[in-house]
């Protein structure tokens, strides 16, 4: 019997290891030969632990499983109460366009041969036949924009690093995925680590870098273990090292582990952390592309940006660019989270509306109550009320609604949520996580919590002060932590004034 079961951290947190143990002992008890493959997650987190069994029709899904469900899997899988049918026919999965996440959940993440069988290394092999400027052109033409949140064109960043003079250059992968509501980086690293390694290697070829660092947050122990193992396997196989795939070009990757500071997800703070300094933000300019790690030209890209590179190189820029709308090209792995019925990872082309994401795909709230608000793009993203559910997923459209796409996390709240409490939490979070370098963020966030408390105590006259403070933080902060923390506060005020004890006119 062939069974696939995730080793993804969320699946394990929901009991996947106990299910694996039950599978092994039940198979032994019955004398059945069990071929158990631990994979990444297919992304349907509400169905985890989700096991797949091989049948002549394809991989059939069962979930969410407990150890008690296991014996019946051996008896009659067809009539099992947790049977879900063919995995790829489950509506949540079938509706997706999986480009970046094509292999996640499908394969053993540390099986390099299987990775290649499923299309891996094709992008790197093609890149090795191109000149560095041609690789950059391919990435630029694909329209790929930074998936970490800023949405900066990846090809433009690479071109800057490629042209910059420097004694050495670096590729830095930002895997410090600290935003609440986001877990796509984690799932990719745990489910298809070679894809990220391949993307980083292509970036190195394009820009002339010989050393890469992947900076992973310490809250992701499973991702750290998987990435560390994958780098060692890639090195042994000659994918990394002194001569990448026997071409004479050197590139290697070191995994670095964060130490609990959210602000290290900001690229210059991250560079300081790798250098062994306090993770404070640097003023820009100079751009990291020109003077980044140890003062050298550095590509700093998010996990998803880099993991999307292999398919762009293997299938061509036009293939990728043909997905999406406007200036938002390709696909985005959405993370649907919070109080939602069908939470998980859903990769789709840009252009889908917020309402489709929350209502159709997410299935509304887990509590069954009406949706009150959705926070898009992490703890620094705006709250969207259902009245804005017609907004299409696109960097510009979300910007026009005073929000951001960010890392495409969607945190759903039901109508019992107190938006004033969430607004206060946003500023409290900013105060806790501020690196302290710039005054608007370090002191502004503390004062904003106090001012929100005054408003909550009935002092509506403090509102102009809060707005003024938010304006100062937006314009005066060095990075997005202080600069964007006003988004969840102002959006909550605009759309839910009653939660602050204000009428609509007072909040406007």
């Amino acid at each position: 019997m062939k069974v696939w079961l995730p080793r993804d951290a969320a699946a394990r947190a929901l009991g996947a290891d106990a299910v694996a143990t039950a599978l092994i002992s039940e198979a032994a008890r019955r004398g059945v030969r069990l071929d158990l493959v631990r994979t990444g997650s297919r992304g349907m987190i509400w169905l985890e632990p989700l096991a797949e069994i091989y049948t002549s029709a394809g991989r059939t899904a069962f979930g969410p499983l407990t150890p008690e469900d296991v014996p019946a899997l051996f008896d009659s899988p067809e009539t099992h109460p947790k049977a879900l049918g063919l995995t790829e026919e489950i509506p949540f999965f079938k509706r997706q366009t999986r480009l970046t996440f094509a292999r996640v959940g499908l394969i053993d993440p540390l099986d390099l041969a299987e990775y290649e069988t499923q299309g891996g290394l094709a992008g790197l092999r093609r890149a090795l036949g191109l000149s560095p400027p041609d690789i950059v052109t391919e990435v630029t033409d694909s329209g790929l924009r930074g998936r970490g949140g800023a949405g900066f064109p990846t090809g433009v960043k690479w071109a800057t690093v490629a042209r910059a003079p420097g004694p050495r250059k670096y590729i830095v992968c930002n895997a410090d995925e600290g935003d609440s509501g986001t877990f796509a980086d984690r799932m990719l690293m745990e489910g298809d680590p070679f894809c990220l390694i391949e993307g980083m290697t292509i970036a190195a070829l394009a820009t002339g870098a010989a050393q890469g660092y992947c900076f992973i947050r310490s809250e992701y122990p499973d991702a750290i273990t998987t990435m560390t193992a994958a780098v060692a396997i890639a090195r042994d196989a000659g994918v990394l090292g002194r001569s990448v795939l026997d071409t004479g070009q050197a590139f290697d990757i070191e995994i670095r582990v964060g130490a609990g500071a959210y602000v290290c997800g900001e690229e210059t703070a991250l560079l300081n952390a790798i250098e062994g300094r306090r993770g404070t933000v640097r003023a820009k300019p100079p751009l990291p592309a020109l003077q980044g790690l140890f003062g050298c030209p550095t590509v700093v890209n998010n996990v998803l940006s880099l993991a999307t590179i292999p398919i762009i190189l293997s299938r061509g820029a036009a293939f990728y660019r043909d997905f999406g709308i406007g200036r938002s090209r390709g696909t985005m792995p959405l993370q649907i989270a919070g109080n939602v019925r069908h939470g998980g990872l859903f990769e789709t082309a840009f252009g889908i509306t917020l309402g489709e994401i929350v209502t159709e795909i997410g299935g509304g709230t887990a509590s069954g109550r009406p949706v009150k608000a959705v926070q898009v793009g992490g703890p620094l993203g705006a709250w969207f009320p259902p009245a804005l559910f017609d907004t299409p997923l696109c960097y510009e459209e979300f910007g026009a609604k005073e929000g951001l796409v960010g890392h495409a996390g969607f945190v759903v709240l039901d109508d019992t949520a107190d938006m004033a409490a969430y607004a206060r939490f946003a500023m409290e979070f900013c105060a806790v996580e501020s690196c302290g370098k710039c005054t608007p963020c370090r002191i502004g966030a503390v004062r904003a919590v106090e001012t929100l408390d005054r408003i909550a105590a009935g002092e509506a006259a403090a509102l102009p002060l809060l707005r003024d403070l938010c304006q100062t933080m937006r314009l005066g902060s060095l990075c997005a932590l202080g600069g964007f923390a006003p988004y969840p506060v102002l959006s909550a005020l605009t759309h839910f004034p009653a939660d602050f004890g204000l009428n609509t006119e007072a909040a406007a």
Binding site: E48, G181, F183, R256, A259, G338, V340, G344, V411
Partner: protein, 155 residues
Amino acid sequence: MTDTALATQVEVILRDHAGGEGAALPVLHAVQHAFGHIPEAAMALIAPALGLTQAELRGLVTFYPDFRATPAGRHVLKLCRSEACQARGGQALIEAAKARLGVDWHETTPDGAVTLEPSYCLGLCACGPGAMVNGELHAKLDPERLERLLAGLLP
């Protein structure tokens, strides 16, 4: 542990990381892994080896929440405070934990059993509330499941 034994262990860690670029965080992680915190006696050895002043090293240890100047309890419970977990009952879970343990954030129970730390996202946002116990993740917690978890930690 004697100062000599500590020094020997720290020297091994420093030698393992010698010559690496920006080795401070890897060294501090390794020291904390070995001793459960960054001992005062270790700092005196680490700073010169990394080319840092004592003040700079202290600045690092205090900046990063993971590094502790004093040992934690025998178990460390991290509860996620973030929005996605709040949306699924995270706040009630936190209040239950604080009441059960009789501690606030960053505090350790008087018997030294459990230290309670906040986390701002463990990547379990679609299956919250999430927690980490001694490095192991738990999802979809409610006060009853938390109670079962704590029962295994408390004497």
